[in-house]
């Protein structure tokens, strides 16, 4: 008897978690200003995915409400009201409709929508002229503009409103390329090239991240997609194609000497100098990039100095060794690196 009283008092209590859930949903939507969100799409591909996401949420919510309503009905029904209900005559019809027909219809619909979305996403980009090859490394992104002789890192510039073909592969372990506001995830697998396309509707910066656990600093492997107006993009291309200039001022010249003699060249390339290492990011125009250490901090003199002096402090486990430069050498090196615009 007590049990029944408890269950009949349930409606208010049952509504509570539902309301709490809705509230949590509203709060979650508020997160989009802090981190990139798939439900705030900024490009056509992400928009398709977001549409599908909302449809699935609506279908899932409707089914949840339906199931909860049935459960509530069962809980509220008084025991012994009608013994014939123990096996209602319509039970087999309910099983066939609710257990076979409905899942078949709902799942077929969802399947059709999903396939439709996948087909739309696979439509090849209009222009093949701009092919960007992105190579995953532990724990940074190498970005190559095929046909433009440009190699950069952790930053992909694209023209806004135009699709850009992206080819993904990996130098070491499996990574996954994900710019939530522009497209879904795609794995970067060593020995294999996966390709898709990026398109942003408007100029702006879009955060990306590695979405497959790739080692100790997986959490700090970010990138930035920068969509630019056509003019700005063309300017950027021309500027990036230039080799590094020989610095004019003496301090920076001294910095170049430090750069060439302190072991930096084992891993880094600066076009126009003798530095042709290929293990680390190319530095020809490093000063023009907005972030350091694969998107983990703004690119300024303080961060750069700290990074060069002890990269293991800022990103433990990354593959760049600490340097043993004197203060004078470090200042000169910083002056030189700042000329690499």
């Amino acid at each position: 008897m007590n049990e029944r009283k408890a269950t009949t008092g349930a409606p208010g209590a049952a509504l509570f978690p539902i309301l709490a859930g809705l509230l949590a949903g509203v709060l979650l939507v508020g997160c989009q200003s802090y981190s990139p969100s798939v439900i705030a799409p900024q490009g056509p591909a992400a928009a398709r995915i977001a549409d599908l996401w909302w449809i699935l949420l609506a279908v899932g919510s409707a089914i949840f409400v339906l199931v909860m309503a049935i459960l509530l009905t069962a809980l509220l029904r008084r025991r012994g009201d009608d013994d014939t209900l123990a096996r209602p005559p319509s039970s087999s019809r309910m099983i066939i409709l609710g257990g076979i027909v409905m899942p078949l219809v709902v799942l077929s619909g969802v399947l059709a929508l999903t396939v439709n979305t996948l087909l739309a996403l696979s439509t090849p980009a209009e222009s093949e002229e701009n092919i960007v090859e992105v190579v995953g490394h532990q724990f940074w992104w190498e970005v190559r503009y095929l046909g433009h002789n440009i190699v950069t890192a952790n930053e992909i510039h694209i023209p806004a409103g135009r699709p850009v073909q992206v080819r993904l592969t990996s130098h070491d372990v499996i990574h996954s390329f994900w710019v939530p506001e522009l497209h879904g995830k795609l794995d970067m697998i060593p020995g294999q090239t996966n390709s898709f396309w990026l398109q942003a509707d408007n100029p702006g910066e879009y955060k990306g991240l590695c979405a497959e656990f790739c080692g100790v600093q997986h959490a700090k492997m970010n990138l930035l997609v920068i969509a630019q107006a056509e003019d700005d993009y063309a300017t950027w291309l021309t500027q990036q194609q230039q080799p590094a200039r020989v610095p004019a001022e003496p301090l920076a010249q001294r910095g170049l000497e430090v750069f060439l003699s302190a072991g930096c060249v084992e891993c880094h390339t600066v076009r126009g100098t003798d530095a042709t290492g290929s293990l680390g990011p190319e530095l020809t125009h490093v000063a023009s990039r907005r972030t350091l250490g694969a998107g983990i901090m703004p690119n300024n003199r303080g961060n750069l100095g700290g990074w060069i002096a002890d990269p293991q402090q800022m990103k433990p486990g990354n593959l760049m060794p600490s340097s043993s430069l004197s203060s004078e050498e470090l200042q000169a090196l910083l002056a030189y690196v700042e000329t690499l615009r």
Binding site: R79, L85, A86, R87, L111, T114, V115, L118, L119, L121, S122, P124, Q138, R167, D172, V173, I174, S176, G184, K185, L186, D187, I189, P190, G191, Q192, T193, N194, S195, F196, A211, E212, F213, C214, G215, V216, Q217, H218, A219, P316, G317
Partner: protein
Amino acid sequence: MESTATTPRPQPRQGGAGAPRVVPELTPDTPVEERLEALWADPPGFIGWFRALQNDALGGRIMLTAFTFFLLAGIMALLMRLQLVSAENTFLDPQVYNGLFTMHGSTMMFLFAVPMLEGFAIYLLPLLLGNREMPFPRLGVFSFFTFAMGGILFFSSFLFSAVPDTGWFAYVPLSGPHFSPGLALDFWLLGLGVAEIGAIAAGIEIIIAIMIMRAPGMTLSRMPILAWAFLITAFAILFAFMTLLIGSMMLELDRKFGTHFFDPTAGGSPLLWQHLFWVFGHPEVYIQFIPAAGMVSMIISGRCPDFRMADHDLGRPSRLEDALSVCHGLLLPFCSWRNHRCHGRRGPTRLASARFVFCRSSLSLRSDRRRDFSYLRGTELLVAQVYGQAPG
């Protein structure tokens, strides 16, 4: 060995079933219940505790051990939560954090969920099927000790500061010899491999118990639905864990014996590991879910007065459609493991990714077959045949 009528509580030399045994004579001064009790008792004392063969002792023991691992995994989860309380928290360094989430996930999957359900099955099956014992008590004991030893080997990685740190899925090449030198991944592969052998042994025992040790008159179609859930789960454990065990052995060969199954620089395929792993991983979800669903079905039908009529009684016979739906529930994941590789698809043939959704794509596999060696081909064909997949 034969207990005499004058001994009130005869000590049998061994407990459990299986060994031929002379049933003591029935005399008026020894109650038959008492003699039955003695006949089936486990050996006494501390040593006897290790020698216990009874299904209830063993089942309880497996569940208790699994629960201990569950608590350890829970502690690790709490540590991770502490780290995640605020951004840029320095409570755990990245290496420790990666070790913790790997240990937590692997423990929950291999040392808690599956053994817990198997312990439950071993504890409950004789009651469900109407017999006294499991068919091979010593196989059950073997299963318990391999599971416990595997778990201990796995956790001993903490003592050697070689904690596995590549995630519970251990994707190659990150878990391969080049990117994970040292012993960490060997603890993962060997410790869990031993525990998996225990899981397979228990699975075999559950299948045999259900197939041959039902009470007279209990046909498969009259069996309680929970027993059906255990049967199907045990088959799934057999196939899923076998595949994982093969994959683990191949990775261990790569790591210590210089083979190149998963090494892309030598013609191996990192995706092969993902296939082998998810042939295990996807059914694993259902291995955990189906027995729970079976329990709910049986508890509701047993405890709910509204159902207590005619064939809705406790332990009501499962109708064919119930049994079929349970079977279906576990066959499907074996066909759909490639869902988990959806992001690994090859670009231009995007139609291939649509076929993941149909649960039977093989087109995408072609991309990593291009440089296959015959042994890779052979393994995939084997996998394909076992699981009814048409190799692409």
